[in-house]
């Protein structure tokens, strides 16, 4: 049985107060459980998105590196390096926050980084088609990487909030509510005991009074 709360006097008033506290604690517990369930559901959803996103990122990057290797094999790594120097691109990333039940998760948006072959800025005549393929795949991979960063950070933030809420739910479920209930039972038992004591005392007083009256009549 759970511990009782120390320093509570066993009175009917306290019992009523405890009753109210138990009702409120149970309501709070149910509400927090709702929040925990919702958070877990969000968390599982984000975890699934992380898996999907990491799979597609790996796929895109593998393809891009394969094309890059092919391009280096055909043109030589120096030539590919030189092309990479003229095709630099600035990627604008907008990092903001989204709110999931009080948990701030990042919202990263980017402009479309995919460019046409002309926009990339290198000549077609002396370059292999593998360079085009690699550039296209890397551009696609960049967007996947950004998406992955967003969901991975969300997973971390949500996980810590799930743990925090779970701890609060467990504290109410296994410590606060049982303790309140045990104290209420203790007070109820103590009041019943006091009632029995009073009953016995009254009976003894009555017997003593009756014995006194009988003595007086005999005299």
């Amino acid at each position: 049985m759970a511990e009782i709360i120390e320093g509570i006097s066993p009175t009917r008033m306290e019992l009523l107060k405890l009753g109210r506290r138990i009702v409120l604690a149970e309501k709070g517990h149910k509400l927090l459980k709702e929040k925990r369930d919702a958070l877990v559901s969000e968390f599982l959803d984000v975890v699934q998105r992380v898996h999907e996103s990491s799979d597609s990122t790996n796929e895109k990057l593998a393809e891009a590196f394969k094309d890059l290797l092919m391009a280096q094999a055909v043109m030589g790594s120096d030539a590919v390096w030189q092309i990479s120097q003229v095709t630099g691109q600035e990627i604008k990333i907008d990092v903001d926050a989204m709110n999931i039940m009080g948990v701030k998760v990042p919202m990263i948006t980017t402009e479309d980084v995919k460019r046409s072959m002309i926009d990339r800025g290198y000549g077609f005549a002396d370059t292999s088609s593998k360079v085009d393929d690699a550039a296209k795949n890397f551009e696609e991979a960049i967007q996947e990487v950004i998406k992955l960063a967003e969901v991975q950070q969300s997973v971390e933030s949500l996980a810590s909030e799930v743990i925090k809420t779970k701890r609060r739910v467990n504290a109410l479920e296994y410590i606060v509510i049982p303790r309140l209930k045990a104290t209420a039972i203790h007070i109820r038992m103590r009041l019943a005991e006091m009632e029995r004591e009073n009953f016995t005392r009254l009976k003894k007083i009555k017997a003593a009074i009756e014995a006194g009256e009988e003595g007086a009549v005999a005299i």
Binding site: L24, K27, D37, D45, M98, N99, G102, M107
Partner: protein, 139 residues
């Protein structure tokens, strides 16, 4: 209000701190370059423009100009009174949006109750344009 009720009220308030202090209309949000709402705890957060456009597309045809007056974010009301993980959507326009996203038609008046899987689908479609609200009856 006794101290226990005050503690409970504080708990409910803290669970709903993320709700917007004032909900903006769809029209206002669409006009903003980076649509944001300020929550009760003073912080602000962003709503994705694509989600706003999705909502506009869904209700625009049925509600016309009225759609612009729709207040966002859409609230998913969670309460133990509806049963575990069930949620309530209140408001005819909001019910229309939810039905369109879930791809089902219900005979609803002003509110509808949806369950865990539907809530997940709705959140997946509109993660920033919807918010959970935690409610409990006072009785």
């Amino acid at each position: 209000m006794d101290s226990e009720s005050r503690v409970f009220a504080k708990l409910v308030r803290s669970l709903n701190d993320h709700l917007p202090a004032e909900r903006k209309t769809l029209g206002e949000l669409l006009r903003e370059e980076k649509p944001r709402v300020v929550s009760r705890d003073g912080s602000s957060y962003r709503i994705r423009k694509e989600e706003l456009e999705t909502i506009e597309r869904i209700i625009g045809s049925k509600w016309g100009k009225e759609a612009e007056r729709l207040r966002l974010p859409l609230l998913i009301e969670m309460s133990p009174d509806y049963g575990r993980s069930a949620a309530r959507i209140r408001g005819r326009v909001y019910c229309d949006i939810v039905q369109a996203i879930l791809g089902e038609e219900r005979k609803t008046t002003d509110e509808m109750v949806i369950f865990r899987t539907d809530v997940r689908r709705l959140r997946r479609e509109l993660p920033s344009a919807t918010q959970y609200a935690f409610l409990i009856s006072t009785s």
